[in-house]
Subunit: 553 residues, 2 copies
Amino acid sequence: MQLTETHRPTLDRALEAIRSRAYWSPHPEHPKAYGETGAADGLAAYQALLGSRFELDQPGTDGWTGAEVSPYGPELGVEYPHPDLDVLLPAMRAGMAAWRDAGPETRALVCLEILSRISARTHEFAHAVMHTSGQAFMMALQAGGPHAQDRGLEAVAYAYEEQTRTPQGVDWSKPQGKRDPLELRKVFTAAPRGIALLIGCNTFPTWNGYPGLFASLATGNPVLVKPHPRAILPLAMTVRIAREVLGEAGFDPNLVALAAERPGEGIAKTLALRPEIKIIDYTGSTEFGDWLEEHARQAQVYTEKAGVNTVVIDSTDDYKGMLSNLAFSLSLYSGQMCTTPQNLLIPRDGITTDAGPKSYDEVVADLAASVSGLLGDDGRANALLGALVNPDVKSRLEAAAGLGEVALPSREVANPEFPDAVVRTPVIVKLDGAKPDDEAAFMSECFGPVSFAVAVDSTSDALDLLRRTVRDQGAMTVGAYTTSADTERAIEEVCLEESAQLSLNLTGGVYVNQTAAFSDFHGSGGNPAANAALCDGAFVSNRFRMVEIRRQA
Amino acid sequence: MQLTETHRPTLDRALEAIRSRAYWSPHPEHPKAYGETGAADGLAAYQALLGSRFELDQPGTDGWTGAEVSPYGPELGVEYPHPDLDVLLPAMRAGMAAWRDAGPETRALVCLEILSRISARTHEFAHAVMHTSGQAFMMALQAGGPHAQDRGLEAVAYAYEEQTRTPQGVDWSKPQGKRDPLELRKVFTAAPRGIALLIGCNTFPTWNGYPGLFASLATGNPVLVKPHPRAILPLAMTVRIAREVLGEAGFDPNLVALAAERPGEGIAKTLALRPEIKIIDYTGSTEFGDWLEEHARQAQVYTEKAGVNTVVIDSTDDYKGMLSNLAFSLSLYSGQMCTTPQNLLIPRDGITTDAGPKSYDEVVADLAASVSGLLGDDGRANALLGALVNPDVKSRLEAAAGLGEVALPSREVANPEFPDAVVRTPVIVKLDGAKPDDEAAFMSECFGPVSFAVAVDSTSDALDLLRRTVRDQGAMTVGAYTTSADTERAIEEVCLEESAQLSLNLTGGVYVNQTAAFSDFHGSGGNPAANAALCDGAFVSNRFRMVEIRRQA
């Protein structure tokens, strides 16, 4: 395997990107970039997986499990190996020393080969992500493919840089005046912590999974992948490719393994407390994330949990642009992104815009109209919304309409290709920031296509609310629209003080809920929504320890 | 204040040092390096502090406290401000935004000015450290002065590098084929987490305190210093200098403050749970360290706790050098270093040496003779041993003699200058690694001048014991002597797998219990003795969060 020639230039480019944070990606977003037969081949490859056993040749397989049903309707019918942990975990440790001794560069290049083979199969992954997450095909292809691969590569780059900031060795010589200097030969080795557990999520199995997976693997740790029971396939495919590449590169394939669970088994809890597990990456509910942080004391725990994302609407010089930008943000993947805005804070006395002053009611009505316009065509609506990922989202959506005056009702959209898909447009509900009952509703995460247009007394009131929301509930994103430099500065100050990532005055083709690897940080790790950011030094620096061996020279 | 001209070259040199890990220090070790009157001035300055109130002009002082008694006998008679936390903590936050907005470089340079003023007063600090820790004067000067300043500067360098690996801003432009590119202007700000709490220790108030203090301050956080009640003065002096420099540089002096406690107040526990406290650095008992890690959930917690340090004695080609090196390691500061070896594992069938085969009994007897020789002269013994830091150490020393056959009894050394000083040579006790009662004794930390010569069945047995010791009890250091390449490799493997810092075959003027800033890692952060290493990326990267503000270009 010509790892260095093939991948070293990409690694160098990635290292440059995380330093400059300018735009870069080696993974094409366009579906046609994957060859003339790429689309058809990917679909065929995906279909060939359905209704069969997904062999991985892992040690300690004591049965088969899997009951994925696509949010678009079809059962996937794929069965995965179920692990006997007492066999699998020791087997995963067997190859650790060789993987550690290979050093940071070889590990990075092997990770890049894994990513490169995943990239080549982007279309196949797109179908797997679509039919587990409910994302529309194009989003599944982009977010589940190149964007996820970018986040994985970014983690590899950070991991490589962190491990190589200390040299492999040094001859240390301390002068002693007229006497001979003190001399030592020192060798520094990046030593892994132990087995890393990746607990995958339902909505973005690859995008949210790859950073932790590759950060851990690149720092020398075996990785056990525990997918969400509804979204196993994309991560099982990832595990298979990783095992293939590791084996071909002369390492133990068991450095990466899958832990699919039986229905109701709760294997994540069992695994999280095993002494062999030293690192955990988790995306999901606040409840389980908090449990992990509290109980998995033997492990480094990286969590992305729930948050309440806010957009402050103070004023704008591009009213139309603001409305269409927000409409897209609320609609994309039916609001099932951890970054989708939930609370739109609008002064009850209205806002100033380039189209004249707009009352609270006008702003809400115009936004509702903008969403309706965006999603008026069923084809376009399906392409943007995807399907609801699970029945809980549907229940929350239905309940939301009872929380206040509905400014925009949710609409059922038919999907001709997949008649069983549950496709819904977002609901917008009017709430009053001054009413405690309303606050109880908008102050907790209502995951799914639900937005609250919250009337506030003033922009200053909005900022107080924003601060409380981020501090108490956490936030993956904050958005704001204002033409006032003072207000802008005040919003920035809240975000700096409460560690929230802020998007200001977005009116074009970038949305508050999208972040780009190598440039944007996803989450801050500084508010309750997540204890880690994708990706920074802190995300990788504690996945290994620098062990020093010094001897007299 | 000409911060840049004065300190930027030093910062650059420190950045180079942490990358190369070659020897470097800007802080002289020699007592004569501090000017012709440096020694006398330092003593006079120290004496002027005794028996008086240590004014700091902090807000919220509700009384005065302090009852330090030198391990050498004299009462210090210094009183320190006692804080009303409800006044002091909010006051400490007031200057945060300006300190954050100053940016990483200015913060680093201000920290270097603080260190530089501390350095200028090294002699004064030496007396303060000596009379709180019990270190002998020369050690107090070096470890409490230049070495501590080095560790502080090292932390500043890591903090600076970590914050500046992300640029201050970037113009991001993503190509869109034939359409206009997507463009955003992004600004990245290192945002502090909140107030950092430094919980100081008795034995090395400055050396163990400066890394956390400067890492937190350099990353934008206010720092509240809570010294050990027996070792307040060196940190109070540090706080005063920091406040002076901050004020002169145009920042709020309250960014650094002291929290001295009343006898039995337990203010560390109260502080550790305050919501304002977002970072905690702690050196001390495992019990309280574990409590902090478990309960101070709102904070990033960095701990250095207890460990059991082992030396494996397999064979040597410099028997005399080994014995004298070990004798020094066991004697320095009466074994009251977290890095002092406790368990010497020696095969019961003896070892091979350049002086012929030596039985277990011979090795122990020769080591005992070496220690006796080193400490035979009372003057030299006082200069090496210092005084026992507190009565607990004395009790443990006395009890240790009852644990097994005493190979070297502890000897009381008179200190003519300070007749009340409790000065004791180390005890060496023979134990048997195969006896459960003996294992119970040597498998827990016996902090102080107590070493166990543990007879083991073989070197392989020693390695098993080493592994168990590091895994279960933790270790700050591991030492080993062997002439066998295979054994060396096997010991290295244990240390790599259990994350322990290893010194091999030290027979000269470097000792297993000493580490040099900029080159050696102190602890690994990967075994139970400490969850952090001094100093690495992980020690600084989570003390701030990178907050991004992006807007349409």
